[in-house]
Amino acid sequence: MGEANVRKQFLFTNRADDLYPLLTTIISFIVGEIEVTDDIEFKLKVILMELLTNSLKHSGTEEAAIEVALNANGFVITKCDSGKPLQFNSDAGELALSVNQSYLENNVFDIYGDTTCSLKGRVNSAHGISFFVVDNDEPAGGEEFKKQLVEHYGLIIIAKAADKFEYRFDRNKNVNKFIITIFTPYR
C-alpha cells in the first residue's frame, strides 16, 4: 500500500465506558475525510469494535493506541499496546499459550472453528502471524450444527471484515501490533 495521505492516532483508555465514544470519534474522523460505502463503514465499525474490545480484555495496560491511515488504496488500522505478547494454543477457546510447533502445518495452525468456518493463523516470522478465516461449506443448520458453534468471535469478525489482518510483536520495544488492512478504494 502506498504512502498514507492521512494518518491520525487515537488513544484508548482501556475503559469500557470509553469504547463506544472512541469508536464513533474514529468513524466520524474517517467519514469526515473521505466518503465510504455503507459496506466499508460497517466493516470499519466492527473491526474497530473488536480491536477495542480485544484491548479491553487482553492488553492489561492502561492505554492502547489506534492509528488510522488512509490513502488511495484503502485503510490501514493499527492497534498498539505494551501488554503481554499474544500466545496461542491450537485448541484453546481463546488465545492462551505460545504457538506449539507441533500444530504447524505449512506454517499454518488452527486457532478455533466450527461447522461454519475456521480461524487460522499463518506464521510470517518469529514474531508475526496473519489471521484468516476459511469458510466451510454452507452450514446445513440443524441441532448438531448449532451444538458445535464456537462462542469466541472477536478475531473471526476482524478476519472476515478485513482484507488483511496481521499481528506482530516488537521484541525490542515490547509492543504488540494488530494491523488491519482494507484494500477497497473509497467511493
Binding site: 461454519t116 468456518c117 458453534l149 468471535y153 472476515k160
Partner: protein, 111 residues
C-alpha cells in the same frame, strides 16, 4: 438482570435493556438466559430493539444460551436487529443458527 421480560402468546420476550450489548453485560445476559430456560420457557424471543451495537462477547453469550436452550428442548430466536447488528449476524453466519424476525410479534408466532 439485564433483560426485562413479558409474555407474548406462547413466547417469552426477553428485551435487552443495555443499549451497548458488550462484554460488560455479556455474563449477566448469559446468566439471564440460563435462568429463563431453567424457569421452563420453551420459546424465548431476544429483543434487540433497544440495542445500538453488539460485540463478540455478547454474541458468544447468545450462542451459549442457544446451546443451553437446545439441551433443555427450548428455542431462542431474535428480533429487532438494527442494520449493523443484522450485518454482524450475517458476517459470522449466525443468521444460519438463529431465526431472525423483524418484530417481536412475528417471532412470538413462530412456534
Amino acid at each position: 438482570m439485564i433483560v426485562t421480560t413479558q409474555i407474548n402468546g406462547a413466547a417469552l420476550v426477553a428485551n435487552v435493556t443495555a443499549a451497548e450489548a458488550n462484554l460488560m453485560v455479556a455474563d449477566a445476559f448469559k446468566a439471564d438466559l440460563a435462568s429463563l430456560i431453567d424457569d421452563g420457557n420453551k420459546l424465548i424471543v431476544v429483543n434487540f430493539a433497544a440495542v445500538i451495537y453488539v460485540d463478540s462477547s455478547f454474541l458468544g453469550a447468545l450462542v451459549s444460551g442457544l446451546k443451553y436452550a437446545m439441551a433443555n428442548q427450548a428455542e431462542i430466536v431474535v428480533a429487532g436487529l438494527n442494520k449493523d447488528i443484522f450485518g454482524l449476524f450475517q458476517l459470522i453466519r449466525l443468521d444460519k443458527a438463529f431465526k431472525i424476525f423483524t418484530t417481536v410479534d412475528e417471532a412470538a408466532k413462530s412456534r
